[in-house]
């Protein structure tokens, strides 16, 4: 068994506006105030320094009991792990000893101190319940900010489908395009609801080159979708519901947007109008890839079904969410994920309808393994996040060729588009635990 290889996620862009920072004030109120007043927690990768709150709680306890003999219990009522609990317990004992506390059996103690490691949504809350003499009861407490974004590690499984993290941010991501790369991406464009941002990797860190606003007159649909199409003569085009933007060709990047119902391209830029190799068995054949574009409903979340120039005799298909191309030796097979949940397999002559229990997102990638082309499709079960799996169509029946991959935080796939070169796809996922959006590159690995 071989573990899937992941690169480290690109850190979140940290440039936040004052306003944005203020949005978090509500939930981080405890954290900010307490950290300013009380704590100096240095939260580093994998190691948390609890000495601040330990010292502070110890001082509060000793202020009540005074130096002397106490009996101490520590109970973990929080999501802290066993190791942290032990570290904190030892730290508290040391801090108390440093303030003149001696630990004795209950019958010898002047005071009983019961410490509970608890928590609320904003912070850890450590509570000491102190009993002295004849029923004297006191409560003291401190709070400690939570470490941010501690994700539960997931077991990786051997996959023929790999996901590589491209970008993470709090605001919705509609699409991500890799503009330049060497060993990995070095320049990317991130499409959001209101802006297109270009980032480049400099000295190992992602820096925002530019952010360009997207002008639109009417409100976006709730389930907003958009697509970035890198181009040869200028950097890229942006397709949004009822809006198309073209980037400028000059060094200073600008974005010119206009209201239009121009169709969205369905074929990856590098493949459109060219030829690709298919594997119809033992031999291989080059076949031309015709361009195909589809009209998008400006106030909804689906394609109208009108195609240009069309697939064979079909210039319209049922309303659909996504489409995937599977070149054959003699024809192009198109799969359309219709809004009614069915998948239409259209070869230019016939329209075969299948109910595959797939999600609404599907796309295809050209690879050097298997049949040469795989369809990537989402699926979901109630209670779990979405997953993506690779399929092939030897004839008209889908054959599963990869294990399903899922996404952090029970992620929901919000977009799945083939990248410009056609050999990988970008999946945009909303992490349901953190609420953040993450873009992954999906690649089919042949060495399974």
């Amino acid at each position: 068994m071989r573990r899937a290889v992941y690169n480290s996620a690109i850190p979140k862009a940290i440039s936040k506006s004052v306003n944005r920072a203020s949005r978090t004030a509500f939930s981080l109120r405890y954290a900010v105030q307490v950290s300013c007043a009380l704590l100096a927690l240095a939260i580093t990768a994998g190691a948390v320094d609890w000495s601040g709150p330990e010292q502070q709680l110890a001082r509060k306890i000793v202020a009540v009991t005074g130096p002397g003999a106490v009996t101490l219990t520590v109970e973990n009522r929080s999501s802290l792990g066993r190791r942290d609990r032990e570290i904190i317990q030892n730290g508290l004992r040391s801090a108390l000893e440093g303030l003149g506390i001696r630990f004795v059996r209950a019958e010898q103690a002047a005071a009983t101190v019961a410490i509970s490691l608890s928590e609320n949504p904003a912070s850890y809350v450590w509570v000491a319940e102190i009993r002295q003499g004849a029923g004297e009861f006191s409560v003291v407490m401190v709070s400690a900010p939570r470490a941010e974004g501690s994700t539960v590690p997931r077991e990786s499984v051997p996959l023929s489908l790999r996901k590589i993290s491209l970008w993470t941010q709090d605001d919705p991501i509609l699409d991500v395009a890799v503009l330049e790369e060497s060993a990995g991406p070095t320049r990317i464009a991130v499409l959001g609801a209101e802006k297109l941002a270009v980032y480049s990797l400099q000295a190992g860190k992602w820096q925002q080159e530019q952010a360009m606003g997207i002008v639109h007159a009417r409100p976006w649909p709730r389930d907003l979708r958009g697509r970035l199409i890198p181009t040869k003569d200028h950097l890229l085009d942006v397709y949004l519901p009822g809006v198309v933007c073209h980037s400028s060709t000059g060094a200073a990047l600008t974005l010119n947007c206009r209201e239009t119902d121009d169709p969205w391209p369905l074929v990856p830029a590098a493949l459109s109008g060219g030829t690709v190799t298919v594997f119809p068995g033992a031999g291989s054949t080059s076949v031309p890839i015709p361009q195909l574009a589809a009209f998008y409903t400006p106030t909804r979340n689906f394609f109208t079904g009108a195609l240009t120039p069309g697939v064979g005799k079909f210039t319209t298909v049922p309303k659909f969410y996504s489409a995937a191309l599977l070149p054959r030796e003699k024809y192009m097979l198109w799969l359309f994920a219709a809004t009614d949940g069915r998948v239409h397999l259209i070869d230019g002559v016939s329209d075969q309808v299948a109910r595959l229990d797939w999600g609404s997102e599907l796309t295809s990638v050209k690879t050097s393994c298997g049949a040469g082309w795989q369809v990537l499709a989402t699926s979901s079960e109630e209670g779990n996040g979405d997953s993506v799996r690779a399929y092939e169509f030897p004839d008209r029946d889908a054959v599963t060729v990869s294990a399903a991959i899922d996404f952090p935080g029970g992620g929901v796939v919000r977009a799945l588009w083939t990248e410009a070169k056609g050999d990988t796809a970008v999946a945009v996922v909303r992490n349901r635990e953190t609420g953040s959006y993450e873009a992954f590159r999906l690649a089919v690995a042949c060495s399974q």
């Binding site: 949005r23 004030a25 109120r29 949504p121 912070s123 409560v139 949940g341």
Partner: protein, 460 residues
């Protein structure tokens, strides 16, 4: 017992998300959703203080109205009708003057553009004690003291921005507009095609009010309702029947509330005896069918982090000891809501516990009672706001927000010390949905939202 409250919050939220988010396909447009509810509000005005706060009322409000800011599922403040905000000194944790820039190109359902003047008037109506004014395209709120809770306050449904018209009609900017309103009975809403957040997926929502839990469940079973309320004590059974059930965190406080302050030392002892006599554990097991959490605190532990400090166990010897110090034992009446199916049983059981301690407690559904069994929907997941609202309901002065958890504890203790209130349970809010209703969501304040809901073809 180890309590993993934060984790349970997350798990609970995930459960809600799991049930509410069906992501196997993109949202589909169209359809009418039918909702049934027990509450029967006679006004849709978010600021109408004559209407009791309820989860149902919050749910209705956010269908039709928007607030300046909103709290997301992680209780983080997000822009809504205000696109940005600033304070005079840049100290967002506690400033007196706040300026909110109003979103452009937003229209009320009657076609009137949203303006700072209308928004300011709306907030003044909801908060007569606030100093709210319009300044160009901004709303300025000036408080008499630094207010670190202002953002959370503005996210409350009761602070939704409403345009109140001279003909007593009301208009909002929310995803749905009013088509038919029969106060206390029925509300029909239609999608706002020009909603600034985008047209909702559903075409319409029809809401039937004043329906008992039983009638609601029948409607769901017969396919006449898509979303209904489930009594906490019924949630386990409904879940076992395979229904799609979603429950919030414990966001409702069930408590005994005395109608007046302690008048004497003897009365103080008797109230203490009563508090010590209530067997919360067995009441939870039997009457509440395991729902909720016994509590002696106002705020649930998941919200405060220290709730376990308040002991919940009955202590009959101490209860009797307190009672025996008093010579004359008065007979108290405990009032309950006659329309609440479990309230009478709870009141009777509490009276039985009190009797064991030598106290005399007479349940009554009459309005006049010495103390009442009350359900208090906690106003917000923000502990300071929740505490302040409970204090206001109970007629007890609330402490000032300093931000520290120790001060929160001290404030809560100060509210409980006068013995006006005996907290009993924190209860979740539960809803059951039809198989076709997708992507509806429970909000952190216990209300539901259908703004992003849609109807699927069949069982997910």
């Amino acid at each position: 017992m180890r309590l993993f409250d934060w984790r349970s919050l997350v798990v609970s939220s995930m459960m809600v998300g799991a049930l509410a988010v069906q992501a196997e396909t993109r949202p589909q447009y169209g359809g009418v959703v039918h909702v049934a509810m027990r509450a029967a509000p006679t006004s849709l005005d978010p600021a109408d203080t004559t209407q009791p706060d309820s989860f149902a009322r919050r749910s209705l409000t956010i269908l039709m109205f928007d607030t300046l800011v909103t709290a997301d599922e992680n209780v983080r403040v997000q822009p809504a009708l205000a696109t940005s905000w600033q304070t005079s000194q840049g100290n967002q944790m506690g400033d007196q003057r706040w300026q909110f820039r109003i979103r452009r190109d937003v229209k009320f359902h009657d076609g009137t553009p949203l303006s700072a003047e209308i928004a300011a008037a709306s907030l003044r109506a909801a908060n007569p004690s606030w100093n709210v004014s319009a300044d160009a395209d901004s709303v300025v709120i000036e408080r008499d003291r630094p207010d670190s809770e202002l953002l959370a306050e503005l996210a409350l449904p009761r602070n939704a921005i409403a345009k109140r018209n001279p003909d007593n009609t009301i208009s909002g900017t929310g995803p749905f507009h009013i088509v038919d309103w029969q106060p206390g009975k029925k509300l029909a809403l239609a999608a706002d095609e020009n909603c600034w957040r985008g047209r909702p997926y559903l075409d319409a929502i029809e809401i039937e009010m004043g329906k008992s839990f039983r009638d609601q469940m029948t409607a769901l079973e017969l396919g006449r309702a898509d979303l209904v309320e489930v009594a906490p004590e019924q949630a386990h059974r409904v879940s076992q029947e395979g229904r799609r059930l979603a429950s919030s965190d414990s966001i409702e406080l069930l408590a005994l509330l005395f109608t007046r302050d302690v008048a004497s030392a003897d009365e103080k002892l008797l109230r203490q005896a009563l508090a010590l006599s209530v067997e919360r554990g067995s009441i939870r097991s039997v009457l509440l069918q395991g729902a909720g959490q016994p509590t002696a605190s106002i705020l649930p532990n998941w919200m405060s982090g220290y709730g376990f400090v308040f002991p919940t166990g009955a202590d009959l010897p101490r209860s009797r000891q307190a009672r025996e110090q008093v010579r004359t034992i008065p007979s108290w009446t405990v009032g309950y809501d006659g329309t609440d199916p479990v309230a009478r049983l709870l009141a009777e059981r509490i009276a039985l516990n009190a009797k064991d301690a030598g106290l005399s407690l007479q349940p009554t559904s009459a309005a006049n009672a010495d103390l009442r069994l009350v359900r208090i929907p906690l106003a917000s997941p923000d502990p300071w706001i929740a505490l302040a609202n409970v204090a206001a309901l109970a007629g007890i002065p609330a402490g000032k927000d300093s931000g520290s958890v120790e001060d929160l504890y001290a404030s809560e203790l100060a509210l409980l010390t006068p013995q006006r209130m005996i907290p009993l349970f924190h209860l979740p809010v539960s809803y059951a949905a039809s198989a076709t209703l997708r992507n509806w969501a429970l909000r952190p304040d216990g209300s539901w939202t259908l703004a992003d809901a849609w109807l699927g073809a069949g069982k997910p």
